[in-house]
Amino acid sequence: MQDKIINYRLPIVVSAIVITVLSLFAFPRLKVNATVDDYVPNSIQNKVHLKQLDSIFGGNKMIMVMLQKEDVVNAATLNRLSGLAKDLGKIKGIDRVISPFDAQEPSIEDGVMSVHPFFNHIPDNPVANDSLKNRIVANNLTSRFFSEDFSLVSLVLVKNTQTPDKIIEDIKLVIQKHPGTEEVLIGGMPFIGYSIAGNIQSDLMILLPIAMILMIGMLYFSFKEWKGVFMPFVIVAMSIILSFGLMAFFGWQISLFSILMPIMIIAIGNDYSIHLIARYQELAREDETLSMKQICRQIYKDLNRPILIAGLTTISGVLGLLTHTMVPAAQLGVLTAIGIGFALVLSLWFLPAILSYFKPKRTIKHEKTKKSFINRILNLFGRWITVYPKQLVLISAFITAISIVGIFFLRVDTNVESYFSGKSEVGRSTRLINEKLGGSKFISILFSGDVLSPEVLKRMEYYEKEILKDPAVGHVSSPATMIKELSKGFYTPDEKGYNQIPDDAGEIYQLLEVFSLGGNEDAISQFMDYNYENARLMISLKDGSNSAVKHLLKTINALTKDDSNVQFTAGAGLNEIELADMVVSGQIKSLIFAMAVIFILLSFVFRSPKAGLLSSLPLSIAILVLFGLMGLLGIAVDIATALTSSIMIGVGVDYTIHFLWHFKEERAKGFCHKEAVLSTLETSGRGIVINAVSVIVGFLPLVLSSFTPLKFFGALVVISITTCLISSLLIVPAIVILTKPQFLEKK
């Protein structure tokens, strides 16, 4: 095969370039999809229920526009808000604007009830402002738009379901046309979606070049030769282009997960070429008479099998993501696997083919004798392994045991609000909405049947009171609240019936009919359908974390379990709960899949199940340390960090494979176990360390991501790869010395 590569080097190089260029042509078809809800399969129950809610009550995606100032109750701020409410309502795609200016205030005139707009005029002096504040506090319909300390006032824009989140750009333009001294903040799920889309693009534009630059620096530092930089760089770049090209070809969209794809290819895809370059340098150093063509044939002959096995195990590990229920995670698995596969093929064929055109770099004498930093570390490792093998195994067992304790503290959180740091625009607005305005995420309880009967409404009133006791809940509203409010327009405060649900269904119906005739159908349609056959109780969440929402769901289920009118509880917030369950099950499934594939593959390659077990050991230790650390440090398992273990398995197993492969060769040369370990560390160890460092360097830029889960993901990959590396270079050799396994002996 090595001869064919050299003989057909030109067609190999041309074919690789043609495939890459063709992939580039597909790039214009790439699209970004940042809607996290779209990542959840359509079949899940909450999504089905949400669709049902949308069909009954219309779209319910709300955007909040907030003005923040020390004191917002003043003429300038309120006039600005009023202007914004009017102009934002003109934007195509905004169904309606709900603002404090819609609120009405009942009063008694000439002995008869009358209702006026709350803001008949906006006062412009401090005394009148204070009196206005008192009126705001007393009016439920107005006070919900203001924070308790009057530092925040808001508008709610109801977005049409078909309108994309890009409408935020139109909103920003309108805000620009209404300048003022107040800080304007935007919040709500569509804004989060819009920000995710923007951040995905900026992350790709920033992180990808940083990862590339770091990789170049690392390669140059390791090989001190431009061929050592150029070859892995070109292979990685071509693999990324192919994966994105295929993404466009399949019609898949760029998701939050897609940011990981090029980073993973950069980190993993250059490993194979690194081993080949390291071997080329070894050969060029050892025998100065060898020509480049001879070296290229030799490096292929020496490394094609371990590299192929390492590549296949990595691909298997990454393909573990296919078992994930979230479609973008599975797509990430497929595309990354293809990218890595292409990098593997390019490393084995394209690299020797193109390398054969260059001249080998001959190392000068003092470089030959000088021991590198990596080699000095590996020598130290060698001493520890050969002198203290038992102690090393015991220490690792102890660390693993501590990690197991940490796993019990592990928590799952898929709340999209936590994707952003507290200092970001989204982070700040989310915090303000949750702390001061009762939250922007809603869940609904759907009631069907005779929803206007006093019994059903009184049950809703009771549920409202009970649910409001939950600390995660901001506001609770239902037709019961609305009807009580309507009764105020017909009864005086001293009359029975004031602020009460009427005992007669006919009266309830007439109150609503009159309210609807008064131009308030939109307000009714939030809670009830057109013919009053369905109604909903709406709960806003000021804490959208999984644990808080799960606790609230338990409360709701306990409250409503015997209520025949209650159909289901659903909401965008609950999608994330199901997402969390999927993340956990996806994680478990992909771990089992990847470990099983690796076990089978290595048992087959080394013709022994013991080899499968031994190769799985560093991975098992690294997985336990990873999850233990996450538990102890309070890092949640989320949609990104959940992928860490699959990636670690795919990448980390390579180190053990390279070690075991070379160790077997050393044993075949007649070295004893200890000598074979020392020799393997000195030769293959260097490649393994450079390989691991390149992965770490590749993933490191993720700590600069705009998304908190990706930052943690970057940090966790660094930790887990380091653990894998240490396990492969310390624990595996120590166990090999202690157990002297048969599968590493020449038959």
Binding site: G58, E109, E513, N531
Partner: protein, 252 residues
């Protein structure tokens, strides 16, 4: 030559006002054709909401003018659970209008100011009366041009209220021969458009030349809401008195 130039100049200067007079005359003729006061009718409204859900309502309506004061009394007949709910709207050019609502279930009367929003909603059963019932002196009327409808030529006239500051306006499509209003395109203060198609005109007996559209279909272009209004019966009531608009019988 001087006389000729003077004639051309005079003709040019007076051209816009000819157009203005023409538009006002057309609009006035069309408005006067409609029978809008001192009458009694029963109307059925089929409302189709944003989510394509349908609701049907039947109203009994009484309309009259007492000097400058216009009154409309609407009594809900269907849905049955809202039967008897009565709304009386009083429009007085000298005072702010009033909407009185009576709910028989609790025997209570509620009074509301006749804000444009509330008036729009309560007066939705008769969108044609918004501008046509007004004095043309209170309106800006402009002939935009001509437009075909069912292969027949029609005048297209834009009307705005002089005192309006919100930007609301309406475009009337008026039959060139019969001066019947066939279509009204209304724009609210936010520029949202709704289209009302008027058809099935019925002559009013005893009032020569007066007609009323017995079928009106209004569609909101913003949210797709539709109202299909059918006039089930229409009777002129020259005998109607102010007492007929009083809300009677309270429970308590």
């Amino acid at each position: 030559m001087i006389r000729y130039t003077f004639f051309i100049l005079l003709l040019t200067l007076s051209f816009p006002s000819f157009g203005q007079d023409n538009a006002e005359t057309i609009f006035k003729k069309a408005s006067e054709k409609l029978f809008l006061t001192n009458m009694e009718m029963t109307i059925n409204i089929k409302e189709t909401g944003k989510n394509k859900q349908v609701k049907e309502k039947t109203f009994h309506v009484l309309m009259a003018k007492f000097g400058m004061v216009e009154k409309t009394k609407t009594v809900i007949q269907k849905p049955i659970r809202a039967e008897g709910v009565t709304i009386v709207i009083t429009k007085n050019p000298k005072k702010s209008g009033l909407i009185e609502i009576f709910t028989p279930a609790n025997g209570k009367i509620r009074k509301l100011k006749a804000t444009p929003q509330n008036m729009d909603r309560v007066g939705a059963s008769s969108p044609i009366s918004n501008y046509t019932s007004m004095d043309t002196n209170e309106l800006y009327v402009k002939l935009i041009g001509k437009q075909q409808l069912d292969d027949k030529p029609n005048y297209l006239i834009m009307v705005t209220e002089k005192k309006d500051t919100t930007g609301s306006k309406a475009e009337f499509l008026i039959d060139e021969k019969s001066f019947r209003i066939l279509q009204i395109v209304s724009y609210d203060s936010s520029g949202n458009k709704s289209i009302s198609n008027l058809s099935d005109f019925q002559d009013i007996s005893g009032y020569k030349g007066k007609v009323y559209p017995m079928h009106i279909v209004t569609k909101s272009m913003k949210d797709g809401e539709e109202k299909d209004i059918k006039v089930l019966s229409l009777t002129p009531r020259p005998d109607v008195k102010e007492e007929d608009f009083k809300i009677l019988s309270a429970k308590n």
